[in-house]
């Protein structure tokens, strides 16, 4: 008979994942160097920008007499608290996929793999999926801290030692939360599950806002005395939060303070969470997994056809039904529509921030600041729209993946599919763009001229951002993805975000000088005139944004017509 059976290790269980990642990387490299080069350049620029901002802000803060170090620690605490909230949310969503919905689970659960190894392997997968973007963002920030405070050659090791439990903790909590919820709710009722996650996110966002009070740090004059301000700085954001221990651990090293407390708390809590997760997993995972297999959702949510049906009646049947199909799939897919809750949270915070600006406090604000804030608002609105397009339009083609055989073997023109996807995503985005811009400009009391410039720019930018999102989705499809929410964080999604934000920056840079000049002249009592410079700039912006709409869509049509569909998916 065969020798005594040995259980596969965690690394073995993860083999398909890392080998798959390596194979994808090799394919990318062999496929096109241009793609990789684009990613490296865009990533390098993005990383440098984050590092540059962090370095300049820290250098400035460090020079503030008496309170510089305190302020630097406070800022790090706030950054880490924000990252921790993002991590908690993203870990819960990811853990649901990795522990209960992933396609490899049938194989792993049926194999003679022990509970602990399965738990650890899936936890590792959850951490990588949910944390890689946070880790990439944290890297330039930690580097800036290390350089400004001369952390020495051992600082990277200290940063890793502080950051590792910081990543493990929310993943373990996310795994525990998911296992408990799946056991409580009936089979695959992820709608309720993700509804709860969304509400949790809303609560977390409010808590983060309450904890941060960042406007107080920026305005010391708002405190009754310097002692009050100093007291605020000395008080930890929250002494019981792991983000605070991580910040303290890093700052203690940089300021040469010997205090083992944050290290003990951080590592102790992470290990405790890891152990608690293992115990919960051992007791409840199999019952939860079994429940998750008990048939899928059968109850159908009807998507209203009435008014929309009447409006689209004149369209050809294929195009009309394609739009209805997309709407049905969106509102019936919990991983998709639940993101609307996150979007609402994002918008709430954005509008709250605009409303909290000192413009409304009765203080005298320099006119230049109003212009800066108006353009900053334009930039932020653009960022929100690009992020929404990444969430909802970028995955549109990827989500067709396995059903592409039906579309491609039918007489439906590929361009018709693309146009349907484009307008289904863009029309709601245009409405959102209009609402954000009008509301925030009204709150900022920006005036009719600035309102007109902002509305025109944002509407044209929305058309371009949607087109780019769809096109990047065609060029970097994720047909095998098990969760629509993970598609935007793929390689192509990140490249799209960088490209669309670069376009936004270019538009703002083009518009800012002539618009500012006009507004200054207006403030001096002169009439608003359409100068040749204004007209040229306007024409350049319109041409740029129209080009950024038409060119990507043309490329997308060409690409989709050439797309190869094998039995396993699309190539």
């Amino acid at each position: 008979m065969s020798a005594e059976r040995t259980e596969p290790g965690v690394w073995t269980l993860l083999t398909p994942k890392w080998r798959g990642a390596l194979a994808r990387l090799r394919q990318e490299r062999s496929g096109s160097w241009a793609k990789l080069l684009l990613f490296v350049i865009a990533g390098g620029l993005f990383w440098t920008a984050i590092f540059g901002i962090a370095f300049r802000v820290l250098s400035y803060i460090q020079k503030v007499a008496d309170i510089g170090d305190l302020l630097a620690g406070k800022v790090l605490g706030i950054i880490l608290l924000t990252l921790h909230s993002i991590l908690l949310l993203s870990n819960v969503i990811t853990a649901l996929s990795t522990y209960f919905l992933a396609k490899d689970l049938d194989l792993l659960v049926a194999a003679p793999v022990g509970w602990l190894r399965l738990y650890l392997a899936k936890l590792g997968e959850t951490i990588v999926h949910s944390s890689w973007m946070v880790a990439l963002l944290a890297l330039p920030i930690f580097t800036a801290y290390g350089i400004v405070y001369s952390g020495g050659p051992l600082f990277p090791l200290v940063a890793i030692a502080a950051f590792l439990p910081f990543l493990v903790l929310p993943a373990a909590i996310g795994a525990i939360f998911t296992v408990l919820l799946v056991n409580v709710f009936p089979a695959r009722r992820t709608r309720e599950l993700l509804g709860l996650v969304g509400l949790g996110a809303l609560g977390a966002a409010v808590i983060v806002l309450r904890f941060m009070r960042p406007e107080q740090l920026a305005r010391p004059e708002g405190f009754r005395s310097f002692v009050d301000y100093l007291a605020e700085l000395r008080t930890p954001t929250s002494p019981l939060l792991p983000s605070e221990w991580t910040a303290e651990m890093i700052m203690n090293w940089l300021l040469r303070i010997a205090d083992p407390w944050p290290v003990v708390m951080l590592w102790g809590t992470a290990l405790a969470a890891l152990t608690a997760g293992a115990l919960v997993h051992r007791r409840l995972y199999h019952s939860g997994f079994s429940k998750a297999q008990e048939g899928a959702e059968r109850k159908v949510r009807r998507v209203l056809r009435g008014p929309l049906g009447a409006a689209l009646q004149s369209m050809p049947a294929a195009k009309r039904e394609f739009i209805f199909k997309d709407l049905r799939l969106f509102f019936r897919d919990n991983t998709q529509w639940s993101q609307l809750i996150l979007l609402a949270v994002l918008l709430l915070i954005y509008i709250f921030n605009i409303k909290s600006l000192p413009i409304h406090s009765g203080e005298r604000i320099p006119f230049s600041l109003v212009i800066v804030i108006s353009f900053l608002n334009l930039g932020l609105a653009g960022f929100v729209l690009a992020a929404v397009a990444a969430r909802f339009i970028f995955p549109a083609i990827s989500l067709e993946g396995r059903q592409m055989w039906l579309l491609r073997s039918s007489p439906l023109e590929p361009s018709a599919m693309l146009w349907s996807k484009y307008w289904t995503g863009t029309v709601p985005l245009l409405l959102l763009a209009l609402a954000i811009t009008v509301l925030t400009n009204w709150l900022l009391q920006a005036g009719v001229f600035m309102m007109a410039v902002s509305v025109c720019t944002v509407l044209l930018y929305t058309l371009a951002a949607s087109a780019m999102a769809l096109t990047f989705g065609v060029f970097y499809p994720q047909f095998g993805s098990e969760n629509a929410a993970q598609i935007p964080t793929s390689f192509g999604g990140v490249v799209y975000m960088m490209a669309s934000l670069s376009l936004l920056a270019l538009v703002i840079m083009l518009e800012a000088p002539p618009v500012a000049m006009q507004l200054r002249a207006y403030q001096r009592g002169q009439d608003l005139d359409l100068t040749p410079q204004m007209l040229i700039t306007g024409a350049a912006v319109v041409a740029l944004l129209c080009g950024a709409t038409i060119l990507p869509l043309r490329l997308a049509v060409q690409r989709i017509e050439r797309m190869e569909i094998t039995s396993g998916g699309v190539e």
């Binding site: 159908v300 294929a318 039904e321 394609f322 039906l406 073997s409 039918s410 007489p411 023109e413 190869e564």
Partner: protein
């Protein structure tokens, strides 16, 4: 009905289909046989307009698939080997969508959907999301989807996989009657008994080429294998008749 001329498909350096030429007249049920990886699915996907050939031509009912793809596609119904459908659509919604892709809608389509679901024992599941369907039910649903627009030609890849005996029998009868009424079926299968009983003519594909084609009698004649069963003929042509050392594999 189908005319393939020197059809070739290459994936990089690998040639999946190597210069296949074939003619299937109207009213014929034609079978494509071959071992795994022989190039059957690639050939069928090229005929269905999903894959683009590296070279060669495809004509469906006299219409060139490469230059007039929409016209050619409107004549055919394709049934893939893996039943991937939209999880979040009901069976009825999926069929309505499939019909709309061929520009068909309205009461006629609704009646047609009900008829098809009734025939395939899916009527009770019409308003259920397809994510709750079994593998066989999904397979039956995509068969309904391929028939909903009344095609002239059906291209079907491994039709019997996942079907219960009753449904398999139903499908055999359906294909025979479809052919009897002037339709054409191009079918790939590994089930040699099914091919032997159902198909008017058969082509055996091996390493991207047609090793032999014709009626059973013609195949026997071409391979000089009188009275040989299709299974033995197949193994002879594809080199699978070599004795396997099963004792080594089965040793515990």
């Amino acid at each position: 009905m189908i005319r393939l001329t020197d059809l070739t498909k290459k994936y990089g350096k690998f040639t999946a289909v190597d210069g296949i030429s074939l003619e299937v007249p109207r009213g014929e049920l034609f079978g494509l046989l071959g071992p795994n990886g022989a190039g059957k699915t690639t050939t069928m996907r090229m005929i269905a307009g999903i894959l683009q050939p590296t070279s060669g031509s495809i004509q469906v009912a006299g219409v060139d698939m490469l230059s007039r793809p929409l016209e050619a596609k409107s004549r055919l119904g394709f049934i893939p080997d893996r039943p991937f459908v939209y999880d979040k659509l009901t069976g009825g919604e999926f069929l309505r969508f499939a019909a709309a892709l061929y520009s068909q809608d309205g009461p006629t389509v609704e009646r047609r959907i009900d008829e098809l679901l009734e025939v395939f024992d899916l009527a009770a599941w019409k308003d259920e999301l397809t994510e709750s369907y079994s593998h066989g039910m999904r397979q039956k649903l995509i068969i309904c989807g391929a028939l909903v627009h009344r095609p002239e030609l059906i291209i079907v890849d491994e039709p019997m996989v996942g079907l219960d005996p009753k449904s398999a029998r139903l499908l055999k009868d359906l294909f025979r009657q479809f052919v009897g009424r002037g339709g054409t079926v191009l079918m790939s299968t590994h089930t040699l008994e099914v091919a032997e009983v159902m198909c008017d003519r058969i082509a055996i594909v091996f390493r991207g080429k047609i090793a032999a084609q014709g009626t059973m009698a013609e195949l026997r004649q071409q391979t000089e294998s009188a009275d040989m069963s299709l299974e033995n003929l197949f193994l002879k042509l594809t080199g699978g008749h070599r004795a396997h050392r099963l004792d080594t594999v089965l040793e515990r």
